[in-house]
């Protein structure tokens, strides 16, 4: 449906005397207020009186045209459009699985359009049998499917120096969670025979950036995957089609997309992306290197600055928690700026290194307040405050900001990003 067709449908319905037209829970005061309080007889809507669209209206299904604002967004135009990112609209999503078309993007030299029939994976270096695999070969190998989050280590990086963005999508949207299907890397390494001296594996992309990261052999043999499918279908081009590496719980950059080569070696290869970038600067000028793990983190996704509360009363606070260390054990929520905390309900399933959805019933009395969530993982690690992070690392780390996020609720129902 085109934009004008959608508007026409909306006008027709309003003319027919309908009550509240569609609209998200967080509709703005003005949009909701225009129709609130009316108690007219319910009319039969036009769509109840005529057959709708045919089957195969869209051979590949599309969201309702009324949901056309639920899209990935970039903070702005980049000087090199292929070297940019786009964020997942966490404020509009439910459950723990990110729809594939809304999974965030980060590319370093654009999205290559790769013919899978021509794609090859070369595995060589300290192996007994250097081997070239086709996609057909890889899909024949024993496979597994696992649900895991994927988070860019730069996610929330704008918050190091104070409230960085006025949007959950822009502050936390370099985060998604999908079912990933592929071959355990250990199966492939068994197949080629890894030398006992092997300690690191270089993973290289077939994109124009030739993205390269060094992966510890322990991670490669433990739970790394060679992924060709995401949420039940083949990868999308922007997520690495036809083949990507996936490292559960590690920073997203290491899950190299468009994977063409694995080289087994003794030492890390010291690529640009693990020296000049993706290292975490400290106040003394030193930088931490190989900071792979994504630490425990949570954020309230409703209400967030992308929403506005239209009236006092009952709301369900909802959010996401996740940890590269394993499972989320508990999430606490504060509705008074961090003084009192209540344990939120965790929605099953609570999976290993996957997003976990939490909820807490809440009645807003109209007074200004600050909402926060604080996650605990199964190792006992507690999500830190921003002050604790800055005390430990200063403000120049760029990456790995996992602090408790504060959303201020104003008397006008506007939600803003604050640090307390």
């Amino acid at each position: 449906m085109t934009g004008s067709a959608k508007n026409q449908a909306r006008r027709n319905f309003l003319r027919a005397g309908g009550a509240l037209a569609g609209g998200a829970l967080a509709s703005t005061a003005s949009a909701a207020g225009a129709l609130a309080g009316q108690a007219q007889p319910l009319e039969v809507a036009p769509w109840s009186k005529t057959p709708g669209e045919p089957a195969l209206w869209h051979p590949y299904g599309q969201p309702s045209p009324f949901e056309d604002k639920v899209v990935r967004r970039s903070r702005g135009a980049a000087p090199f459009p292929g070297a940019n990112s786009s964020m997942t609209p966490l404020q509009d999503l439910f459950g723990i699985i990110t729809p594939t078309g809304l999974v965030f993007e980060r590319h370093h030299a654009g999205i290559p359009l790769i013919d899978p029939a021509q794609h090859r994976l070369a595995v060589h270096g300290l192996v007994a049998r250097p081997t070239l695999f086709t996609m057909d070969d890889l899909v024949r190998l024993p496979s597994v499917s696992r649900i895991h989050f994927l988070e860019c280590s730069g996610n929330t990086g704008r918050e190091w120096k104070g409230p960085g963005t006025a949007s959950l999508q822009f502050s936390h949207g370099l985060l998604s969670c999908c079912e990933w299907t592929g071959v355990p890397l250990s199966v492939l390494l068994d197949e080629v025979g890894v030398d006992p001296q092997a300690a690191w594996i270089l993973a290289e992309g077939a994109d124009a950036a030739g993205m390269t990261r060094s992966i510890p052999i322990t991670k490669a043999l433990d739970d790394a995957l060679l992924v060709y499918a995401q949420n039940g279908e083949r990868l999308r081009p922007e997520h690495g089609y036809p083949l990507r590496l996936f490292l559960p719980g590690f920073e997203g950059n290491m899950s190299v997309k468009w994977l063409r080569r694995l080289k087994v070696g003794r030492e890390p290869f010291m690529s640009r992306e693990e020296t000049a970038k993706y290292t975490d600067s400290l106040p003394d000028g030193k930088a931490r290197q190989f900071t792979f793990l994504m630490e425990t983190k949570s954020v309230i996704t409703f209400p967030a600055p992308d929403h506005r509360l239209r009236e006092q009363g009952f709301y369900q606070i909802a959010g996401l928690a996740w940890t590269g260390r394993g499972r989320i054990r508990r999430v606490d929520v504060s509705t008074d700026g961090g003084h009192n905390w209540q344990q939120a309900r965790l929605q099953e399933p609570v999976l290993d290194r996957a997003l976990t959805r939490f909820t807490l019933p809440w009645r807003w009395d109209g007074a200004p307040t600050v909402l926060q969530s604080r996650a605990l993982d199964e190792t006992g690690y507690v999500q830190p405050t921003g002050r604790q992070l800055v005390h430990a690392r200063g403000v120049e780390s760029n990456y790995h900001f996992n602090a408790i996020q504060s959303w201020k609720v104003g008397t006008d129902g506007i939600i803003s990003n604050v640090q307390v």
Partner: protein, 195 residues
Amino acid sequence: MCRSRRSTLMALLVAMSMVSSMSRAERLGLGQPLPETQLARWNIDVDAQGHGLPPGRGSVAQGQRVYAQTCAACHGDKGQGNPADTLVGGRGSLATAKPLKTIGSFWPYATTVFDFINRAMPYNAPKSLSADEVYAVTAYLLHLNGIVTADTVLDAASLPQVRMPNRDGFIADTRPDTSNVACQQCPAPAAVPSQ
């Protein structure tokens, strides 16, 4: 260890080696053997010791010409950056409030400069420079950063010998480095901040 126990151990070891050879025999057998010759054009990575550096050589003077033609439009005529990354300067800035991370101030290995340019630059035509051109533009960038002299010629032997100023500027991951407490009634309720 008594004899019988030792023979049991021997039997176990023999059995284990049989299992291991069986599992080797049961390889899935997918994929094609990959000889080095077939791999050559993909096997481009250069590590910190210089393994993987190709034959060829390039001087600072040659690099200045390559840089002007292929790099300056995005990185500035002297590596000052905008719109792309700043490549020059920043020495001594890393421990200040305004750290400037460049090749000269931050990159720990000169070999990484070669590797990155060779695989990813220039942005609009990566993998288009010859090995000589990559050596040359690497030499020029190191010279702009005051790391090598104007008469420097770099090749597979000399490039790994270049010692970068921030070579020792990296440390291991020491996280977890915070220890928050999950208090239920926390002290000092925070005031609601102004927007």
